[in-house]
């Protein structure tokens, strides 16, 4: 700690960082962690093990994970095209990718609902096939894929830009087919970034509220997400119950992200 460094400022920088992180992140989270216990241990237990709560949690994390799984390959494809090819309208496409970030999520929700409702442009085509998207868990996934895409694309783009073309050419001169080159050279080099993109999309999906509640239909036990349940509890002035659910989401999310982070670090060690 007291070693001399050519880059001074470690002390003040660390102090400010710690204070800032405490104030912005740790303090609110602490208050969240403290709040539920006024219900008592059993009260908290009952509050978070209600079947409706468990279903909502399962849905929130499940849909977010599935959406992230969908977003990784397609995000990779989009990032690949944006980085490797020059085509007319590329800049336009590039700004379109950011739209889900810039748009108020409620707007996205309304738009998607209109599209997938039984009378919407796409919904009307799907209905005769027996596929219902709006007001079902499938709709939730559609919304989460929508909001998660930019996270995957923007995480992968810089890594793809750094990926030397020469490595792929080397693979070709060594006799590898294009598929082998992708599988053995490109994807492994991208693995940490793919995982990071997955984590970002997952985190976004778990926390997403605005776009989902419009398309989900919000039927308890079927298409009701956990964040909505928190809002419902707040409206019923059940602050402690809302906090209890919030705490559970916090703990689950934190463990997942920590795990992904560790996994990514282990991959990174091999490469760097």
């Amino acid at each position: 700690m007291t070693r001399r460094s050519a880059l001074p400022g470690f002390g003040p920088a660390l102090t400010i960082t710690l204070v800032w992180v405490s104030l912005i992140v740790l303090l609110p989270l602490t208050s969240l962690a403290v709040r539920p216990w006024e219900l008592g241990l059993m009260g908290v237990w009952h509050s978070i093990t209600e079947p409706r709560v468990l279903a909502a949690l399962r849905l929130s994390f499940g849909a977010a994970a599935l959406a992230a799984v969908v977003n990784v390959p397609f995000g990779l494809l989009v990032a690949w095209v944006m980085v490797r090819y020059r085509f007319p309208g590329r800049r336009l496409a590039d700004s379109l990718i950011d739209m889900p970030l810039a748009l108020p999520t409620a707007v996205a929700g309304i738009a998607l609902t209109a599209l997938f409702a039984p009378k919407g442009w796409i919904g009307a085509w799907l209905l005769p096939l027996g596929i219902k998207v709006a007001y079902t868990p499938v709709g939730i996934m559609v919304a989460l894929v929508f909001v998660g895409l930019p996270f995957v694309v923007r995480t992968l783009e810089p890594v793809l830009m750094d990926l030397p073309l020469e490595a792929e050419e080397a693979a070709a001169t060594l006799g590898a087919t294009r598929a082998q080159t992708l599988r053995k050279v490109v994807i492994p080099a991208l693995a940490p970034a793919l995982l990071a993109g997955f984590a970002a999309a997952l985190a976004r999906g778990v926390g997403e509220y605005g776009s989902v509640i419009f398309i989900a239909g919000n039927m308890p036990m079927l298409s009701e997400i956990a964040p909505l349940l928190i809002v419902i509890r707040l409206e019923q002035l059940d602050y402690a119950g809302a906090a209890a659910l919030g705490l559970v989401m916090l703990l689950v999310s934190f463990s997942i992200l920590l795990l992904l982070n560790l996994l990514q670090k282990r991959m990174g060690v091999k490469i760097r």
Binding site: T173, G175, A176
Partner: protein, 346 residues
Amino acid sequence: MSVELRGLRKNYGRAAALDDVSLTIRDGEFLALLGPSGSGKTTLLRTLAGLEFADSGEVIINGQPMHGVPARERGIGFVFQHYALFRHMTVARNVAFGLEVLPRGRRPAASAIRSRVQDLLDLMEIGNLGGRYPEQISGGQRQRVALARALAIEPRVLLLDEPFGALDAKVRKSLRVWLRQLHDRMGLTSIFVTHDQAEAMEMADRIAVLRGGRIVQVDAPETLYAEPVDSFVHEFMGESEKLQCSVIDGLAVIEGLPDAAFATDCPKGPAIALIRPHEVEVLPGPGPVRVESVHGNGPIRRLRLMLAGQMLEVLKPEDAWLPVAGETCNVDLARARIYPVERAAR
């Protein structure tokens, strides 16, 4: 394996990267492609490997036309300037790559691959580095890994793109000798790109000098040095002193030396005489040449002479007759080569 290039042309937009390149590389030959940056040497190498495609012309390897044959089927070892190692694989996995991607029927057993890789690493004198990652080894070692990886597929031809470009002078020197010995021992046919004439002279059987996408001259290093076909090659192949002269009736007369005339087939008019610093004979004066300075205290002295307003640098061994600064003397430029004046921008 022999390699033959016939009339290769390639344009990038308006600029010609390859301009009617024809060249035959003999089986077992070590050929250097030498030229300044932008002369098309890397493009030529990549075209050979199937990483780029000529607009017209043919690449023929061992009698087989390579038209339509993708890079992975050409059986060519390619060593990239920046090695292009796979960063997420160990050194051993890098070297094994070319064997592991073989179709199942032709792929050796895992144990065979392992021993083959170890043999190659031993051959490259890096037998103990198999478990490391490329980031964990030095530049010279990476170069050897890249070479081992290229050789693992038993290539018919080995192509090297500025293989020592990123290494420091000392490592370069030792690798040169080593690579040339490796080439001879393994009976390879090698083509390597460089912009360093000393490197090319030291390693190659023949050197092809490129300029503006054209091959200007292909010859053994000694011939190239002694009989350059034009002033560009002369200046590129080593230190050159340039003097203005004029040609009348097949005789070149250097400015300031009216009594000496050299036979030449250059056309009538202004021309230039090029001579290497050690080829100038210095004779006791008095004469038309003024001695400006005599430098150096090793075995070689560097003389700066003035001849009719033109500076002439001369190298002489210390035991030769040497003038002193300030006196005048004579020079004999009989070994000068006369070239027509270059038209600007060719």
